[in-house]
C-alpha cells in the first residue's frame, strides 16, 4: 500500500509519490540530481555549505506535523518531491471544462501551455537563490542567516517540485526543459532567467526582506492560482509549496518589521521625533523610515510588473483552459467561466489613469494583482502599528499602481506615487524622494556588517520576538564552519 502522506526515504529522493515504484521517473530524476547538486555547490560560498544549519525538513504533507527541525549541512538537505494529498472526486474549477473531473494526466491539447507555465514558475525558484547567494556574508545574525538558508533550500525544493512534473508528465521535452532550468542563471549574460526581476542581484538584507515580502508574494499568488489548476498533479504540488511559502512571507514581514522597530527604538532613545531628520537618524546607524518607504515603493512596483499586462491573452487562455484559476477560485460565487462577465482595470486615456470595464476573462492578471495588493496591504498595516506604538508620526503606504512601471499601460510614464501625472521636470525632482538613490544604497551597504555571535544582532535590526522552533534567544542557529 502506497503511503501518500508520509515522506518515503527509500530512494535517494525523499517523496510521497511512490517514486521507488515509478522506475522511469526515478531514473530521470536520478540523472538530473548530480547537475542540481553541482549547481547548489557552485552557488553559495563553501564555508556556509560546510556549516551546520538548523533547518526544517518536510517529513509528511499532513498540515499538522509536516516538518522536523535539525542541524544539517545544506548540500545534504533532503530535497524531495512532495505533493499535497489528492482530493477525492476533484473537478476542474474554472473555464470551459468547469465541473469535469480534474485531469490526472496532461490533456494533449494543453500540453504546451502547461509546460510553459511550469517552466516559467520553475525558472523563478532557483533564480531567487542565485540572487541571494552572497547575503550570508553580511548576515545581521545567525537567526537571519538560518532564515535565509531555509528560504534558499525550500526554493531549491520548489525547483524539484517543478522538475518532477516536467519529468513525470512531459517526456523528452520535459527533461530538456528541466536541464535548461539549471542552465539559465540569474543575471547571466549567457542565459539569463526568464523574467527580468529575477536577474537583479539582491544586494543587501533590507532588499532581501522586501523581496521576500513583495516578490515572493507574487510567487505565492502565482502558486495560489496554479493550485486551482484542473491538472491535478500541478494543483497538489502547488498546494504543498504554499505551506512552505508562508515561511518566506514571514521572513519578509518580520524582517522589515524588525528594521522599523529598531529605527523607532533608536529614534526614541535619542529624542528624535521627526522621521525626516534623516542625517541624525543615519548618524545613529539605523535605517530612516523615508528610506524604508522608498524601498517599499521600489519592490512593490517591480513586483506589480511581474503580473504582466493588464489585459492578457495568455492569462485568459490559461483560465479558460482550466489550467490556472483565480485566487481562492472555489470561494468565488460566479459561474467560474466568465464568458460574459466584465472586470474593472486601469487604462490610460488622454494621458490620465482611468478605470474601465473589460471582459473579465482577459483581466485575469489584473484580478490576481488586485488580490495581491490587498494581501500585501496587510503587512504594511502591521508595520504602521509598530511606528504608531512608538508615537512617531509616519505612515508607510503602497504607491499607486501607475507609479514606476515598466510593464502595462503605465509603463515608462511620469506618474507620481499618488497616481498623478507630473511633468518630466517634476518627475526628475521627485524621484530621489520616491525611490532609493545610489547614495541611499551606499548607506544601506555601509550597515551590512556580519554579526555571527549567537544571540547578537546588527545594530540596525531588532531581535525577533520568538525564536524558530521556539528556541531561546541565544540559540546557535548556524554552527559556522570557518575553515
Amino acid at each position: 500500500m502506497l503511503d501518500l502522506i508520509n515522506v518515503s526515504y527509500d530512494t535517494q529522493i525523499p517523496n510521497n509519490v511512490g517514486l521507488s515504484q515509478d522506475k522511469k521517473v526515478l531514473k530521470a530524476l536520478e540523472k538530473w540530481h548530480p547537475g542540481y547538486i553541482n549547481w547548489w555547490n557552485d552557488l553559495i560560498p563553501q564555508n556556509f555549505q560546510q556549516s551546520m544549519v538548523y533547518l526544517r525538513t518536510a517529513v509528511s504533507v499532513d498540515p499538522k506535523g509536516w516538518a522536523k527541525f535539525d542541524y544539517v549541512k545544506m548540500p545534504e538537505y533532503r530535497w524531495g518531491v512532495l505533493l499535497a494529498p489528492q482530493v477525492e472526486n476533484r473537478t476542474i474549477p474554472c473555464g470551459e471544462h468547469y465541473g469535469q473531473p480534474a485531469w490526472q494526466e496532461v490533456p494533449g491539447e494543453y500540453r504546451n501551455l502547461l509546460k510553459r507555465l511550469i517552466v516559467i514558475q520553475g525558472d523563478t525558484e532557483p533564480a531567487s537563490v542565485e540572487q541571494q547567494r552572497l547575503l550570508a556574508l553580511t548576515a545581521p545574525s545567525l537567526y537571519d542567516m538560518r532564515n535565509l538558508f531555509q528560504v534558499n533550500v525550500e526554493e531549491g525544493r520548489h525547483l524539484w517540485a517543478m522538475v518532477y512534473l516536467l519529468h513525470k508528465y512531459f517526456g523528452r521535452d520535459g527533461r530538456e526543459e528541466a536541464d535548461d532550468l539549471l542552465r539559465r542563471q540569474s543575471g547571466s549574460e549567457e542565459a539569463p532567467r526568464m523574467l527580468g526581476a529575477f536577474n537583479e542581484e539582491t544586494p543587501d538584507w533590507l532588499s532581501f526582506f522586501m523581496f521576500t515580502y513583495f516578490t515572493d508574494r507574487d510567487g505565492k499568488m502565482q502558486l495560489e492560482s496554479l493550485a486551482q489548476s484542473g491538472f491535478d498533479p500541478l494543483s497538489r504540488t502547488c498546494r504543498f509549496m504554499l505551506t512552505e511559502e508562508a515561511h518566506h512571507m514571514f521572513v519578509g514581514e518580520t524582517g522589515v518589521g524588525r528594521t522599523i522597530e529598531r529605527t523607532c527604538q533608536v529614534m526614541k532613545e535619542n529624542g528624535i521625533d521627526d522621521p525626516f531628520d534623516v542625517d541624525r537618524i543615519r548618524g545613529l546607524g539605523v535605517i530612516d523610515l523615508p528610506l524604508i518607504q522608498k524601498k517599499l515603493n521600489l519592490h512593490y512596483t517591480l513586483s506589480l510588473d511581474l503580473f504582466g499586462q493588464e489585459v492578457s491573452t495568455n492569462a485568459a487562455n490559461a483560465f479558460n483552459a482550466g489550467i490556472k484559476g483565480r485566487y481562492m477560485e472555489a470561494r468565488i460565487t460566479d459561474d467560474h467561466q466568465l464568458q460574459s462577465d466584465t472586470y474593472v482595470v486601469w487604462d490610460l486615456v488622454d494621458g490620465k489613469a482611468v478605470q474601465k470595464e473589460v471582459p473579465a476573462l482577459t483581466a485575469i492578471n489584473m484580478r490576481l494583482r488586485d488580490d495581491y495588493t490587498k494581501d500585501a496591504a496587510g503587512g504594511v498595516g502591521r508595520w504602521n502599528k509598530i511606528i504608531e506604538k512608538h508615537g512617531i508620526d509616519f505612515e508607510l503606504k503602497l504607491p499607486h499602481e501607475a507609479f514606476h512601471r515598466k510593464i502595462g499601460v503605465f509603463a515608462n510614464l511620469p506618474f507620481d506615487p499618488e497616481g498623478k501625472v507630473v511633468t518630466g521636470a517634476e518627475y526628475d525632482k521627485g524621484l530621489p524622494e520616491w525611490l532609493p538613490t545610489h547614495a541611499d544604497g551606499d548607506y544601506i551597504q555601509s550597515l551590512m556588517k556580519p554579526c555571527y555571535e549567537a544571540g547578537q544582532y546588527a545594530r540596525w535590526i531588532a531581535p525577533p520576538k520568538v525564536g524558530i522552533d521556539n528556541k531561546p534567544g541565544d540559540f546557535e542557529y548556524v554552527k559556522l564552519h570557518m575553515a
Binding site: 470551459e96 504546451n112 501551455l113 510553459r116 535548461d180 542552465r183 539559465r184 549574460e189 549567457e190 542565459a191 539569463p192 526568464m194 491573452t313 492569462a315 485568459a316 487562455n317 483560465f319 479558460n320 483552459a321 464568458q339 471582459p359 476573462l361 482577459t362 485575469i364
Partner: protein, 553 residues
C-alpha cells in the same frame, strides 16, 4: 476615397525601421512604433507588423540597392529587448476585410522575395540576427534572409505558431521556405509547425531551422564578425556610389485618375477598368553608364519602372472595384530599345544591373496582380523590349491591324530585344516567351531571329505574340465587347481562372508560395474555423478557443 494607402515613403518618414550604415555593412533595426498602425483599433506590440510597417521595409530594401550599392551585407535585427518580431499583428488581421488580408499577404510576400533575392541580384546578403522571440511572420522575415543566426540563451526560439494558435497558416512563405529553402525534413517540419513555442538552441541548427547559434554573451560580436566575413567574401566591387531615389512626380485628380511623368492611369468606374498608359522616352538614351548614373532617378528607364510599380500597388490596394487593367503605350519603339540596350550592354555595371532586376520585379508584380489584364496595341505605341513583356504578362492582347481612318500615328508594331530572352524571368524561372510557347519551344528560337525588327500586326499575330489583330472595321466593337464581357464575369472566378492560366510550366519556391501556400491560406481566410464569429482569429485574445467544425473538407 476614405483612406488612401500610399506606397511611397522615405527615411525621414520611417516610424518602424532604422538603418545604420557602416561601410559595407548596414545594420537594419526593426523598432515598430506601437501607436503607428495604418488603421485604428490595434497596437503594434512586440514588433508586430501591419502593411504600413512592410511598406517601410520595402522602401528600405529598394533604397539599399539603389542608394547604397556600397553595402554588401545587411544585418536585420530588433531594436527591442527580448523580442525579434512577433509577426503580423493578429488584431489587425482579425479586424481586416478578406480583401485587405489577401493584399497584405501578397505585398509582404513580394517584399520577402525582394530581399531574399538581393544576394543573387545585387550582391547584398541579408543576415537575420535573432535575439528573443521570433514567431510567425517574425520567423518568416528571418527565413527570407540568406543566413540566420540565433542566440543560444536557452529561451530565444524560432517558431511558426499559426496553426495551433490561430488556425491559419504561416502564409508569408513560412511553410514553403521551411521545406523548399531550408529543406527541413517533412516530419520535423510537421512537429515544428504544430508547437507554439517553437525550437531553440542546438536543435534549431540540427533541424536546419537556423544556420548557426552563438553564445548570448558573444552574440553581437559573432554577428558582426559573420557580417565582415560575408562582406570580405563578396564578389561585388567595392566603393560603389549610389543614386538618390527622389520623390515620384505624381498627381491625383479628383476622379481618382493619376498622372506621373511617364505613366498615366485613367479610371472608368462605370466600366470597372483602369487604363495605364506608359509613354516612351522623349530623350535619347544616355551615351554611357556614367551618364545614366548622372541622370539617376530621372533616367526614363528607371523612372518608368518606379511609376508603373507605384501605379500597380495603388490600384491593387486602393481601387478594388476596378476589375480590369488595360495596358497601353505611346512613343518610339526604337528609343525604348536604345534605353534598354545601354543596360543590356553594361550588365556588369551595378546601376544597369539594378534597373534590369527592378524591371524584372515590376513585371512580376504585374503577373501577380489579380485583375483581368489586357494590352491594347494601338498605332503609335512602343511595345518593345521591357514594355513588350507586358504583352505576355496580360491575359489577352489586341492589336491594331493596318491603317485606321484619321489616325496618322506610325503603324502598331511589336519589337523584340535580347531582353525578351532572359533578364526578366517570371516566378517560374522561365521567360514570358518560354512560358507562352511551352508547347512549342522552337517558336522561341524562331522569335530570336526577329530581334530588333518592327513586327506589324499580321506578323505579330502569326507569330503568336498577340491574341487578336483587328482592322479599322472590327476594332472598336471587338475591344468594347471583350471589355464589357470581362466586366460581367464573377471576379472570383476570373481571379482563379487567370491565376491558373498565367503560370504554366515548372514549380519554383516562388510559384509554390504564390500558388499553393497563398491559395490554401486564402481558403482558410474564408472559413468559419478561422474567421467566423467563433473562429480562432476572431477569438484570439479573448481567452476562449476557436470553436471548430470538425468536418474535414
Amino acid at each position: 476615397m476614405t483612406h488612401r494607402i500610399d506606397f511611397q515613403t522615405d527615411p525621414s518618414r520611417y516610424r518602424h525601421w532604422r538603418v545604420e550604415y557602416d561601410g559595407e555593412i548596414a545594420n537594419l533595426y526593426m523598432d515598430v512604433d506601437e501607436q503607428g498602425g495604418l488603421f485604428p483599433g490595434y497596437e503594434l506590440k512586440l514588433n508586430s507588423y501591419d502593411l504600413g510597417v512592410d511598406i517601410e521595409l520595402a522602401d528600405v530594401v529598394q533604397r539599399m540597392r539603389f542608394e547604397h550599392p556600397e553595402v554588401k551585407v545587411v544585418v536585420m535585427q530588433s531594436a527591442k529587448d527580448r523580442v525579434f518580431c512577433a509577426g503580423a499583428n493578429i488584431r489587425m488581421l482579425g479586424g481586416a476585410s478578406h480583401a485587405h488580408k489577401v493584399n497584405f499577404c501578397k505585398f509582404t510576400n513580394e517584399t520577402r522575395n525582394t530581399f531574399e533575392a538581393a544576394e543573387a541580384d545585387s550582391g547584398q546578403k541579408y543576415i537575420a540576427a535573432v535575439k528573443g522571440a521570433c514567431a510567425g511572420g517574425g520567423y518568416e522575415l528571418a527565413l527570407a534572409c540568406n543566413y540566420i543566426l540565433l542566440t543560444n540563451d536557452s529561451s530565444s526560439s524560432v517558431a511558426l505558431p499559426e496553426v495551433p494558435l490561430l488556425a491559419v497558416l504561416p502564409g508569408t512563405g513560412g511553410l514553403t521556405r521551411v521545406t523548399d529553402k531550408r529543406k527541413v525534413r517533412r516530419d520535423l517540419a510537421d512537429v515544428f509547425c504544430s508547437v507554439e513555442e517553437g525550437v531553440k538552441g542546438q536543435r534549431a541548427v540540427d533541424w536546419r531551422l537556423v544556420d548557426e547559434i552563438a553564445p548570448n554573451s558573444k552574440f553581437d560580436e559573432v554577428v558582426q564578425e559573420r557580417a565582415r566575413e560575408f562582406a570580405a567574401a563578396s564578389a561585388k566591387p567595392s566603393n560603389l556610389t549610389g543614386i538618390e531615389l527622389t520623390p515620384l512626380d505624381r498627381r491625383f485628380a479628383e476622379d481618382g485618375s493619376l498622372t506621373y511623368s511617364a505613366v498615366e492611369v485613367s479610371i472608368d468606374r462605370a466600366g470597372g477598368r483602369a487604363t495605364l498608359t506608359i509613354t516612351g522616352p522623349s530623350d535619347p538614351a544616355p551615351a554611357s553608364v556614367a551618364e545614366l548614373q548622372w541622370q539617376g532617378a530621372q533616367a526614363w528607364i528607371l523612372r518608368a519602372a518606379r511609376e508603373l510599380d507605384d501605379a500597380i500597388l495603388h490600384l491593387r490596394l486602393n481601387e478594388r472595384q476596378i476589375g480590369t487593367l488595360v495596358f497601353q503605350t505611346q512613343g518610339d519603339p526604337t528609343a525604348v530599345l536604345a534605353h534598354e540596350a545601354l543596360l543590356l550592354a553594361n550588365r556588369d555595371h551595378w546601376l544597369a544591373n539594378e534597373i534590369l532586376h527592378y524591371w524584372k520585379r515590376v513585371l512580376k508584380r504585374v503577373d501577380m496582380t489579380s485583375r483581368s489584364l489586357v494590352a491594347i496595341v494601338e498605332h503609335g505605341s512602343c511595345f518593345a523590349g521591357p514594355l513588350a513583356e507586358l504583352l505576355w504578362a496580360v491575359d489577352r492582347s489586341y492589336m491594331m491591324l493596318d491603317e485606321f481612318e484619321g489616325d496618322n500615328r506610325p503603324l502598331a508594331a511589336v519589337t523584340l530585344s535580347e531582353g525578351n530572352f532572359g533578364p526578366y524571368p517570371m516566378g517560374n524561372d522561365l521567360t514570358r516567351l518560354q512560358t507562352r510557347f511551352l508547347g512549342a519551344p522552337e517558336t522561341v528560337d524562331t522569335l530570336r531571329g526577329h530581334v530588333g525588327k518592327a513586327l506589324e500586326a499580321a506578323e505579330a499575330e502569326e507569330l503568336g505574340l498577340v491574341t487578336y489583330a483587328y482592322d479599322d472595321i472590327d476594332w472598336e466593337d471587338e475591344v468594347r465587347i471583350f471589355l464589357e464581357e470581362r466586366a460581367s464575369f464573377s471576379p472570383d472566378a476570373m481571379t482563379g481562372m487567370e491565376a491558373n492560366l498565367r503560370f504554366a510550366g515548372p514549380e519554383t519556391m516562388e510559384t509554390r508560395i504564390f500558388g499553393r501556400l497563398t491559395a490554401w491560406q486564402n481558403w482558410i481566410f474564408q472559413r468559419p474555423n478561422a474567421v467566423g464569429p467563433d473562429g480562432a482569429l476572431q477569438r484570439y485574445g479573448t481567452g476562449v478557443r476557436g470553436d471548430y467544425n470538425m468536418e474535414r473538407v
